[in-house]
């Protein structure tokens, strides 16, 4: 495309400023809206992942190979010898994408008090490390979280407490099959009762100090089942997990699993959300096609005489097509720039202040302690912004094809005579 063609195209656009401006405004606003939606949706996705992972699961889990999903208590990281836990944690947190990591031990057993008992899942955590990666410590409804003053303290769900009929301060017995096959058992005190909102958790989870659970299970201090990890950027989970796996495999065999593998239903929903965003883009492009085509058609027919003259003077049909397409492209680019410019403050506002939805959500939603409420924060989704822009430019070109084709088929002699 020669520079002169470009110049011509640009000038043509502005020959009818009002029309060009109107269409440009429509497209620009449309693009701004796409940016707004993409940002909001990214924020929503982030929020959903947060809610799904920050209560207990954490965003990446590192296990011994074969540990998941059966969770056999003998399959500790590093096998029977275990591993240097602090060294492993240090190795994990050395990756800059990792926000924090903490060790976990799991078991399954029977909780018994008075004459009632229930099957429970036992989770051993380090009281001052776990809160860095999950938020269950903030869900204590009664009593207190695990702390060093009560090494045999446990924290249980409110539904479990009511089913068994115990309260803060009650004594309970935990019975399990220890790693050596014997009947691990001991007496504990209920330090606190939590409410997570998740039925299965409130009914079945017993949280205790990692070292206490190791004692109960007859596991040496070097033996843990899992390293839980919280990331700076949730959406990079799968990539970070792959990277960690390679890095940690050098010391001992591990399996690093990111949350999409651990919670496929959550991953499904997130992808669904993503897909809907693209459907929206598509709708916009469709509307844009008509808008731009309309504009270009009018522009072309208005300039019948001039185009005819140009062709009579030797401009080839192909060049005419290129000219029209260039005009459309110029229109699109200009619109994108304006739309983008308008979008910057909107995106910034969404990220910093969020969108207040008021009654649309039906009140405050407290999902897993993270108050989603009526205030939604957006997150920048640059890939989506780029895709929207590219899509729009392509749409503009496609819509200008028909007008360009018509223009190229003007008979110069007839065209010149048109008034």
């Amino acid at each position: 495309m020669s520079g002169r063609l470009l110049q011509l195209a640009w000038r043509n656009l502005w020959r009818n400023p009002r029309r060009t401006f109107i269409t440009m405004a429509a497209i620009a606003f449309g693009y701004t809206m796409l940016l707004f939606v993409a940002c909001l949706m990214a924020g929503l996705r982030w929020q959903m992942i947060q809610n799904g992972t920050c209560l207990i699961m954490s965003q990446i889990q590192v296990h011994a190979p074969g540990y998941y999903p059966s969770r056999s208590i003998k399959k500790t990281l590093g096998g029977r010898q275990g591993t240097d836990v602090s060294a492993m944690l240090a190795a994990v947190t050395s990756d800059r994408r990792v926000y924090a990591a903490a060790p976990r031990v799991y078991g399954y057993g029977l909780l018994s008090a008075a004459h009632r008992s229930a099957g429970v899942e036992l989770m051993g955590v380090v009281p001052d490390q776990e809160p860095k990666i999950t938020i269950l410590n903030g869900q204590i409804a009664k009593g207190s979280y695990l702390n060093a003053r009560m090494p045999k303290g446990v924290v249980i769900g409110d539904k479990l407490a009511s089913t068994i009929g115990i309260d803060v301060g009650s004594e309970i017995v935990l019975l399990t099959q220890a790693a050596d096959g014997s009947m691990g058992n001991d007496v504990y005190t209920v330090a606190g009762i939590f409410h997570s909102g998740l039925d299965a958790v409130d009914r079945g989870l017993v949280l205790m100090a990692l070292s206490s659970l190791q004692d109960l299970l007859h596991l040496a201090p070097a033996r843990i089942h899992e390293v839980g990890i919280k990331l700076n950027d949730i959406t990079a989970a799968t990539t970070v997990a792959a990277g960690l796996q390679v890095q940690l495999d050098k010391t001992l065999p591990v399996q690093a699993m990111a949350w999409p593998e651990l919670a496929p239903e959550l991953a499904s929903y997130v992808q669904f959300n993503h897909a809907i965003t693209f459907v929206l883009f598509f709708i916009f492009f469709l509307l844009a096609v008509l808008g731009i085509m309309n504009t270009m058609l009018m522009a072309v027919f208005e300039r019948t005489r001039e185009l005819g003259m140009l062709m009579a003077l030797g401009m080839r049909p192909v060049q005419v097509i290129v000219l029209i397409l260039t005009e459309a492209a110029g229109l699109a680019v200009a619109s994108l720039v304006v739309g983008g410019a308008l979008g910057v403050p909107v995106l910034w506002y969404l990220q910093e202040h969020g969108l207040d939805l008021g009654g649309a959500t039906g009140g405050v939603i407290s999902l897993a302690g993270v108050v989603v409420g009526h205030l939604w924060y957006g997150r920048q989704d640059f890939p989506a912004y780029g895709e929207a822009a590219v899509g729009l430019a392509a749409t503009a070109l496609v819509s200008a094809l028909y007008p360009a084709w018509r223009a190229a088929h003007f008979q110069p002699t007839e065209a010149i005579r048109k008034v």
Binding site: K74, R80, L110, S112, H115, S117, G119, V173, L175, Q177, A179, D180, G181, S182, M183, N185, D186, V187
Partner: protein, 243 residues
Amino acid sequence: MLLGLALSSVALMSHAADDQGARETVERVARLFSSKSSIATVKMQISNEDGQRDISMKIWSLGEKVLVRITSPQDEAGTAILKVGSDIWYYLPKSNRTVNVPASMAMTSWMGSDFTIDDLVKETFLTRDYSISTFFVGKRGGVAVEEYTLTPKPEAAVVWGKIILQIRKADAVPTWQGFYDEDGQLVRELTFSEYKRMGGRLIPTRLVMRAADKAGAQTTIEYEDIAFDVPISPGTFSLPDLK
């Protein structure tokens, strides 16, 4: 009763379709450990990839009630398991508590051994649940034996495809029992040895259970003593006395 695992039986009518002689033999063998009541002193040795554990216990049984009290090692001594019907109770000396364990939630492998809860809780009614036919009569390793194939009857609630029971012809004591899945693969095997006269019967005092796919892992049960049809007061099986 624990030991009646694979062998305890109920005298029920036999089915004419079976090899009558086989049925009688198997029934006699299955009754080897059963009686109205018994008291036994037993040593169990569990070996697997983690090492070896030795547990000594005393077992009382009266009808459907069973009481097991562990006497060694030190950190498990005093543990008691009481089974009455389908209720199971554990007394845990370390916590000094008695706990009710729902049978369906109990650990799959009992105490980490190669015996399962099925073996403990459920009586295996060999003659009731299986059709019996003679499989082999001859010598194995120089010893005259008879081998019987036990095929589960259509509605029998057992997981095995078939069981093969090998009996020493001379004194009708069991020597070997193989448990097969429906594809005919051996899943576990029980070997009997050290035959002694105890409580007036000739019984194998050493039983070794091995899972076919876990090389090196096995559980051995040795009877140091057993007495049959001894008077036991029902109060032995009371919950408050579990301690």
